[in-house]
């Protein structure tokens, strides 16, 4: 009898296996949540970096760029580590519960493999989302020599940050199947609030 259920030997088989893993542990749902949450973190942190540098009178854009890159790397590693540790702990607990009920070792079953795969996917998403969001916000600063006006670069970066926040809100609105615009404005408000508080504190 053919034993084709343990390993995949072609791309369609691999994709089918991924689909099974997704069905078993709901990877896409968790990854989506982590993506939105951490991209949001990434954008707001970068807003902080931008406003801080602007208010401190930094007009040499290489400084906020270096701080921004360092911050996004730190956020990426924080996301990767944090998600890996929390997700693997959570998955191991769930697997142990299932093993206790079913009385069989689940580590080498499709459920065990799906759990390990979920930990990897979620960790990568959690690590990449804030770093990627921060890099997108920093684009006008990277193009600083071309824009040739630091204030305009800061403003454009701020505009991109607010647009990203609004986009994340739309994404969450789509996930919740409720008001897209409503969610968009809620996330946008967070960005505006962060900028406003920073400016108020900076003005003192």
């Amino acid at each position: 009898m053919k034993k084709n259920h343990n390993r995949w030997s072609s791309i369609p088989e691999f994709l089918e296996e991924i689909q099974t893993y997704n069905q078993i542990v709901g990877i896409s749902k968790i990854a989506r949540r982590y993506f939105a949450m951490n991209a949001f973190d990434g954008v707001l942190t970068t807003i902080g970096v931008l406003v801080g540098n602007y208010l401190a009178g930094v007009r040499d854009l290489s400084i906020p760029i270096q701080i921004g890159i360092a911050t996004s790397i730190a956020m990426g590693i924080s996301g990767l580590w944090g998600a890996y540790l929390t997700e693997s702990a959570e998955r191991q607990r769930e697997l142990a519960n299932l093993e206790k009920i079913s009385l069989i070792d689940q580590s080498e079953t499709s459920i065990g493999r799906a759990s390990r795969f979920a930990v990897i996917v979620v960790s990568v998403v959690d690590g990449l989302a804030p770093a990627l969001a921060a890099f997108i916000v920093l684009i006008p600063l990277f193009l600083g020599s071309w824009i040739n006006n630091p204030i305009l670069s800061y403003s454009l970066a701020g505009g991109i940050a607010l647009l990203l926040l609004f986009g994340l809100g739309l994404f969450l609105g789509k996930v919740s199947e409720k008001s897209l615009i409503g969610y968009g404005f809620k996330t946008l408000l967070a960005g505006i609030l962060a900028i406003a508080i920073n400016f108020l504190l900076g003005a003192e």
Binding site: K2, N6, I101, S102, Q106, S110
Partner: protein, 97 residues
Amino acid sequence: MDKGNLRRIVLDVLKPLEPDIVDLVRKISTLSGVDGVNITIYEIDHHVENAKITVEGEQLSYQDLKDMIVENGGAVHSIDEVAAGKRTVEEVVTHQD
């Protein structure tokens, strides 16, 4: 050595809710020799469910069927019915039944 033509296997299985029985029944149906499969759930718990799995075909392999169930997180509680030979013999009702 002729191992005998196993034609029907009925198992009592405890399995996790995911992968669900739609997925499992499809996978079992791909095993060689299988003509048809039926999975019936008779009890559902919080994380697991009890299923009666009936497989019919020609030259069935109990080991491969068991491997498939274990691979999908299930455990075989008992083998409730088997039939083998040139034709499938149904259970006979006797006066004692």
